[in-house]
């Protein structure tokens, strides 16, 4: 009984959210800023969840997300930049002829292909990242937690150096970056308008991750997080499962990177610096390490705050003609950093701790007798 009530409620909420999106779509121009912030939030929600899979659920402290995002972003961008724009984009050194011919070939394929092509580009980018992750993982995953963090950080920087190096000019356009990246495509022949596409893609991906976490393999990840040695003694192959987690996390981080490329329309290696990984870590920490709901909520909260509400702090403030000191550019990020430190030091579990969203818990608050929390076994 409760199960079906919960499912119905979840479906209704999703429906309401979708309806809001469609309404916003009706007045795209007017709602431009809101839509943009929500899209960015959805993309960051995906990468936050994939980081949480690795760090929060498997206990592997990896700081390499920006690197994998850049792999996805660059691959997707290179595949999607229209053939006619290529010379403009690669104006300094020209594009690698092999890639050009590939793109020419692809652009000649029939329309049905063209409509799924952007999604294929996303997946190709993600697969590429997964392959890199599987190779790198062999080396890196047996390191102790602190060393793993710095090794993955280093890896991220190596990737960045590679992508912006003059030697790869023909492919990645070196330090000039890529632009003229097409925006989000529509889905299902217009059923889903372009601006709603990132939400659907992100939601599907997050759902897949949640399904994985809830499966037996997800439980094995938790065991590794709790106590590696005990997990191994219980028959769980550390290498196999750590690699699994690492590869899947990288896959979805790269996919989010591809979405980011479509969102930003132009990217450069600087976009994927260590700061980006820190930004995602921030979201994961604030939302709660070990909570998917937390990462999603955190993504929306943090992105909205950064882009919107906290801009308030960056403008000079006048109260009754008195110029309030401190309020100028950059203040919002200081406030933000202080809030982050407060979460790290005081509200250590973040928004959700390790809990997920549960209708039962909400209803439980409204009953006289407190129901026993339905956590644990399921």
């Amino acid at each position: 009984m409760r199960r079906s009530r919960n499912t119905v409620l979840s479906v209704i909420s999703a429906g309401v959210f979708l309806a809001i999106l469609y309404m916003l779509n009706l007045n795209r121009a007017g709602n431009g800023m809101l839509i943009s912030i929500m899209q960015k939030s959805a993309i960051f929600a995906l990468v936050a969840v994939s980081m949480n899979l690795l760090n929060g659920f498997t206990g592997l402290f990896s700081l390499g997300q920006a690197g994998f995002m850049s792999i996805g972003a660059y691959t997707t961008a290179i595949l999607l930049i229209p053939v006619q724009s290529l010379d403009g984009v690669y104006y300094m050194n020209g594009i690698n002829p092999g890639i050009r011919s590939l793109k020419v070939f692809l652009s000649a394929l029939p329309p049905w292909f063209q409509s799924v092509y952007p999604f294929m580009a996303l997946i190709v980018g993600a697969l590429f990242a997964a392959v890199i992750a599987s190779i790198v993982g062999v080396a890196v995953l047996r390191l102790k937690s602190d060393y793993l963090a710095i090794a993955t950080l280093g890896l991220s920087e190596i990737i960045r150096a590679l992508f912006s190096s003059p030697q790869l000019d023909g492919i990645t356009n070196g330090s000039y970056g890529l632009n003229k990246i097409p925006a989000f495509p529509k889905m299902f022949g217009g059923l889903v308008p372009p601006i709603i596409t990132p939400f659907i893609v992100s939601a599907v991906c997050i759902t897949l991750i949640v399904l994985l976490i809830r499966s037996s393999y997800g439980r094995a990840f938790l065991a590794i997080r709790e106590d590696e040695i005990a997990a191994e003694a219980m028959g769980i192959s550390l290498f196999k499962h750590k690699s699994m987690s690492f590869i899947i996390s990288s896959f979805f981080s790269a996919l989010a990177g591809g979405l980011l490329a479509m969102y930003m329309r132009s990217i450069e290696a600087k976009t994927f610096s260590i700061t980006l990984t820190y930004d995602i870590l921030l979201i994961v920490v604030i939302g709660g390490i070990g909570s998917v709901t937390g990462s999603v909520l955190g993504a929306f909260l943090v992105t909205a705050s950064k882009e919107w509400w906290l801009r308030f702090f960056d403008q000079p403030l006048e109260i009754f003609g008195w110029d309030v000191p401190l309020f100028r550019t950059g203040f919002r990020m200081v406030i933000f950093s202080i809030l982050l430190m407060m979460v790290v030091l005081i509200y250590r579990r973040g928004l959700m701790g390790t809990n997920e969203f549960s209708w039962d818990r909400i209803f439980g608050r409204f009953k006289w007798k407190r129901k026993k929390v339905q956590g644990g076994g399921s």
């Binding site: 897949l208 399904l211 994985l212 499966s215 037996s216 393999y217 439980r219 094995a220 938790l222 065991a223 709790e226 106590d227 040695i229 005990a230 997990a231 191994e232 003694a233 219980m234 028959g235 769980i236 192959s237 550390l238 699994m244 390790t354 026993k372 956590g375 644990g376 076994g377």
Partner: protein
Amino acid sequence: MNGTVLKTEHLTMQFGGVVAVDDLNIEIPQGHITALIGPNGAGKTTAFNVITGGYMPTNGRVVFHDKVIGENHPRSKMKKIYNGSDRTAFHHQVVNTPDKITRLGMARTFQNIRLFKELSVFENVLIAKHCRIKAGMLSATFRLNHVEERTMREQTQDLLKTVGLADLAREKASSLPYGKQRRLEIARALATSPSLLLLDEPAAGMNPKETEELAQFIKDIKDSFNLTVFLIEHHMNLVMDISDKIYVLDYGKTIAMGTPKEVQNDPAVIRAYLGVEDE
């Protein structure tokens, strides 16, 4: 079926200059309860760790169900320090990771309890069933193996009932009292469907009454799960009560072995535990 479940031949483990396990030769028959005792630091847990694949032995061989699961021959540096017998009898190097050995049917508990603290009692045991899963990651993710999943859960529930922890299924493992945590560790090890169960000081910290219950418990699960049991223990009552055979270690060397009666009266054992009397 009566055969030798576990056998070690000249098993030696040396760390730098310390020979923690020196020329250990044990044979554990199917269905028996065998005990490994000795003063603290005698090398018992190290022996467990080598047998379960935590370390590669310095010398010797571990045979499980007639399959060599660990073997090594000493390298020249070790040869100089180590003076054990039959150094050159072994030629191969075989090492298996602990998870592989568990899947072969050997499960263990730990001296310092290593439960999955933040997870529930139910989850602790359910996770131990993962090693027998047939579904791959993809099919498990999409619940194509929902029958298998349901079976695993039912088996977990049964196991919890057997050890008497069923009513605590939803509790966080770290919130359990000490005695129940030890039982949970045993239940978790049982969930991997082992044929040989290694228990590292299962009665540590228990009072005499709890120890008695534990003794009966071990005998019960041995019968109902058709197990062979190998345990390390300090509580002599427990050891003497349930063991079929005892090996006594001191400073890594085997100083005595035999039935409880034989070992109890062995002067070498008494000396090791109580020290030499001043004349």
